[in-house]
Symmetry: C2
Subunit: 333 residues, 2 copies
């Protein structure tokens, strides 16, 4: 007789359309009952529309029929909402206080770093009025959606992404909403999106210390914060506001990242500190957290982001960041 484990393994090969992750990774398998040659599988329907349910039924039936010893397969769907199925081990918020320091970039690079180490990763784009994650990763198109919730859209390396820009008619439509509505959207992105099993959910916060970060830090079980800044003194001052906010709300800052540290001029073989001298050590000290990296301004990275191909990026500074970050996170596991 075939074992439920074997069946589950086979279900692990069935990918949910759109999000491109398996039924198992999306936590959509409720029950597997094996009775002789008869197999009863119950899946959850959270965030899965009717058409996709039918498609999944057919696809699972086909996979099971290919297995030895199975004569009859019954597939049912049980009601569920994403909130009850999500198992997210760590939520890491990328914060800054200051705009344009590269929070979205660091969010993307952090998610990619963890994904390259084999972790299951998602990105919740909490920058409702200025979302840039979808463009950077080249994802577009409406997320899968049912009455019970939404599915993230998968990046080419398999990072699940949810962003308001995926839900807009045109990517440059403006969201002219007041704070409470923005807070509500972020909460929805957490509760009504089927993230499934994730090792890390990276949250890209908008600048400032108002509604979006407040809601996030109050409503989501954030496990750690990474603070992003640039060398400018002026930036450091505004960024320290975010540090103080994190401290006042008793959320641990796990590291700081200096972005736009310098520009390397190949013709001169020299680094130019175009935004001023680095304050990285000082920032690490005032945040009480390690410096995870100093990322240069890299025109090739700018171009990849504009083309939606950030996942192709490699550089010495980025490799160093990946190493420091993963070492730190493993030490916390």
């Amino acid at each position: 007789m075939i074992s439920p484990e074997k069946v589950k393994e086979a279900l692990g090969t069935v990918l949910v359309p759109g999000v491109e992750r398996s039924l198992v990774k999306m936590n959509l398998v409720k029950d597997i009952v094996v009775n002789g040659g008869k197999l009863d599988i119950t899946l959850y329907n959270a965030a899965i529309m009717k058409d996709t349910q039918e498609w999944l039924k057919a696809r699972v039936g086909q996979v099971m029929k290919d297995m030895d010893g199975i004569i009859e397969v019954q597939i049912n769907f049980a009601d569920a909402v994403p909130k009850d199925l999500n198992k997210v081990k760590n939520i890491i918020a990328i914060m800054s206080g200051k705009g344009g320091v590269g929070k979205s970039l660091v969010s993307g690079l952090t998610a990619m770093a963890l994904r390259r180490q084999g972790y299951e990763v998602g990105i919740l784009d909490a920058d409702i009025t200025g979302p840039s994650i979808p463009r950077m990763f080249g994802v577009s198109g409406l997320p899968g959606m049912s009455e019970s919730g939404m599915l993230p859209v998968a990046s080419s390396s398999g990072i699940g992404i949810m962003s308001i820009n995926l839900l807009l008619h045109a990517e440059d439509d403006a969201i002219i909403w007041r704070g409470p509505l923005i807070g509500q959207t972020i909460t929805q992105f957490w509760e009504e999106v089927l993230w499934g099993n994730l090792d890390y959910l990276i949250v890209d916060l908008p600048p400032g210390t108002s509604d979006a970060p407040l809601t996030l830090l109050q409503k989501l079980p954030v496990s750690g914060i990474i603070i992003v800044f640039t060398p400018q003194d002026l930036t450091a001052m505004v960024v320290r506001k975010a540090v103080k906010m994190a401290q006042q709300m008793s959320k641990p800052i796990i590291g700081v990242v200096e972005n736009m540290s310098y520009l390397y001029i190949p013709e001169l073989k020299k680094k130019m500190e175009i935004f001023g001298k680095s304050h990285a050590d000082e920032m690490a000290l005032s945040a009480g957290a390690p410096l995870l990296g100093q990322l240069p301004i890299d025109p090739s990275l700018v171009a990849l982001c504009d083309e939606g191909k950030v996942e192709r990026y490699n550089s010495e500074a980025y490799t160093a960041y990946i190493q420091k970050l993963t070492k730190l996170l493993i030490s916390k596991e």
Copy 2:
């Protein structure tokens, strides 16, 4: 007999402490009655604390006694609130949608440009959670304040500045407020600050299209918007959201400014487009407004901002910006 005009002229030499602009420019002169050698002056007390009222009384008395033909001077204060005394000809909002593109820098440079042309100028720093204007202009210290309102703080070239950072205990204290409170603060900065007579009030908006810009565009009689962007494609997309917001709220965009257009490398005598190729013409087209300038990344400007000495800045690109801007504004007068 001395004429009221002569008296008013003399009052134009009496500077209000802190804001360093005259009683006349601050619209604080209510009445001048000349009766033979007897002079009756009534000033408004809006935003002027008791101590300063006494000081002003003494100072005005002294100036008047120096004038020929005056035997007796009577100085009284009448109740008033800033809202009723402010005469602001033009409000120009600096917007972007995207953070870190240099809205504050362009706000500062725009105010300086108009000031250098001899206009009376103020800056309302509406970036409540990430204010950077005071640092850039090197102003600090508590604004003058009474029950009826507040006085801006004067920059070295005489630009009146109001920012939440002037009101904080430490400049890196975080403002952890939800949207409605932020909107309320911006309204207060408009209604309860004695701006006096201004040709231009420049409003530095925070990134995004949520509470702060919404409040500003709904509650203040904004005469025009300047949109700031950088060459990155990704930025252009987010900035177009601000353009759409302005259009949806029927506020005229008077011009667009590209910041961080390029970096000039003196050793190579060449311009590097480190954030990608310029989209300036495209942005001007989509905003339906002229391109006012393309400002480079200038390490000397970064340093001046960090030192609080932005008003000392000069460069070819900035001179070109000043010329285009003033020509445009004069054409609208």
